[in-house]
Subunit: 222 residues, 2 copies
C-alpha cells in the first residue's frame, strides 16, 4: 500500500537529503530528529512525520543512522534514476547554469540546450547538443527529456513552457521573472531572483517588531 505524501513534505525531504549528504561528509554517524530539526529550521516532530511517509527506517528514539537514512531517502525519492534535463535560453544566465559546478548533481543530467537565436547556436561552446527553440517539443519527446530549466526573458517564458509541455516534459524550473502556467501532470518551480531581492529589500527596509534570526518567520513592522 502506497502512502500519499504532500508536496511540502517532499520538498522538506529533499532538503533533508542534502543535509544528510553534508553530515556524511562531516563523518557524523548518528543524528536525532531534534538535531535534524535544528539544522533545517523544522520542528522535530515534522522531521519524524516526513520520514515516516517513506516507510519504516531505524528508531527515531535512538536517533537515525546518517548513511542509512540518506540512502533510504535517495532510493525512496527516486533520485537513483538520473533524469535527462534541458535548458531553454542560452543567454548569460542559461550559459552560466549550464557550466556551473554549483548546479551539477546526481538527480539530473543536462543533455540539450535551446535558443531562438540561430547565430548563438552556431557560436556557443558547449558539450551538449543545441537546437533552435521551435524544435523544443520534438527534441524533448525524441530524447526522452523529463526536466527543463527556463532561462529566457519574461515575455517568452509562457510560450516556452507550452512547447515543453507539448513535448511531454514532467518538471520545469522557471527562472524567468514571471510565473508560467502548465497543464495538469507537469510540475513547476518558479525561482525569481529579482523577486527574492525585492522581498529582502522589503524585509530589510522596514522596522522590525522583534529581532529576527535570519530563520523562518521573523515578524516585521510596517
Amino acid at each position: 500500500m502506497k502512502t500519499p505524501i504532500p508536496a511540502p513534505a517532499l520538498e522538506r525531504l529533499c532538503s533533508l537529503y542534502q543535509l544528510l549528504c553534508r553530515m556524511e561528509g562531516e563523518d557524523l554517524v548518528r543524528v536525532s530528529s531534534t538535531e535534524l530539526g535544528r539544522r533545517t529550521g523544522q520542528p522535530a516532530h515534522t522531521i519524524r512525520k516526513d520520514i515516516s511517509f517513506l516507510g519504516e527506517i531505524g528508531n527515531s528514539g535512538a536517533g537515525y543512522e546518517v548513511s542509512r537514512l540518506k540512502d533510504h531517502l535517495f532510493s525512496k525519492l527516486g533520485l537513483q534514476r538520473e533524469k535527462r534535463a534541458c535548458i531553454v535560453g542560452l543567454g548569460r544566465l542559461g550559459s552560466a547554469i549550464l557550466s556551473s559546478s554549483n548546479i551539477a548533481n546526481e538527480a539530473f543530467r543536462i543533455v540539450a540546450g535551446f535558443d531562438s537565436d540561430v547565430n548563438k547556436l552556431e557560436t556557443i561552446k558547449t558539450a551538449i547538443m543545441v537546437f533552435p527553440s521551435h524544435e523544443i517539443a520534438d527534441v524533448v519527446r525524441r530524447m526522452a527529456i523529463e526536466l527543463a530549466i527556463i532561462a529566457v526573458p519574461a515575455a517568452r517564458a509562457q510560450e516556452v513552457a507550452d512547447r515543453l509541455a507539448g513535448g511531454g516534459i514532467r518538471g520545469i524550473l522557471n527562472l524567468a521573472p514571471t510565473p508560467v502556467m502548465v497543464p495538469p501532470g507537469v510540475f513547476i518551480r518558479n525561482i525569481d531572483i529579482a523577486g527574492e531581492l525585492r522581498i529582502l529589500s522589503a524585509m530589510s527596509g522596514v522596522q522590525l517588531a522583534s529581532q529576527g534570526h535570519g530563520v523562518p518567520c521573523p515578524t516585521v513592522l510596517l
Copy 2:
C-alpha cells in the same frame, strides 16, 4: 500604531506587488481578491488579510483599484527607497546575474562586486566597482550597502556571509548550494537551483496520487 506582519505575509505581498505590476501592464483597472487569489494560488481571504496588514485601502467588496493598490504596496513595503546591493563571486553565475536584465528592478541597485581572484578583478568588464573579497566588511560599511548576493562555491559561502554581516549588511540572497547562518537582524534567503531541480526530479519521478496542476501542494505517491 504599527501592526506587526509575519514574514510569510510580507513575501506574499511582494509577489502580489509583482502581479499588480503585470496587471497594470495589461491595462486592468479593477480586480477582486478572488481573482488576485486565483493568479497567486492563495485563498481570497488570505489576500484580503495580507493587504489589511498595510492599513486601509479601497473596498475589497467592490474589488481593488489595480494602480492604487500597487502604489500602496510600493510605498508601504519601502520599495520606493532604492537599496544598494553588492554581489560576491564574479564567476559565471555571478557575472550573469550582474548583467542580466531579468534581475534588474526598482528595489535595489548593484554598486559593487567582490571576488577572491585578483586576476579576475583586473580583467572583468563591468561598470560597477570591484574589490578583493577580504575587503568585503570595509567596503559594505563605507558604501552603505544593504543587500548582498552570494554566488560563490558552497565551501566559501559561510565565510562570505560572516564578512558581509561584519560589515553591517541587512539582507543576503544566497545562491551557493548550501545554507548559511547569519546573526540576528540579518535577513537571509537561500536559493538552491540544484536543490530545486532535485525536488522536481523527485516529484516527476514518483507516481502521482492524483493529477497535480502544477500549483501548490500536489499529492504524490512514494
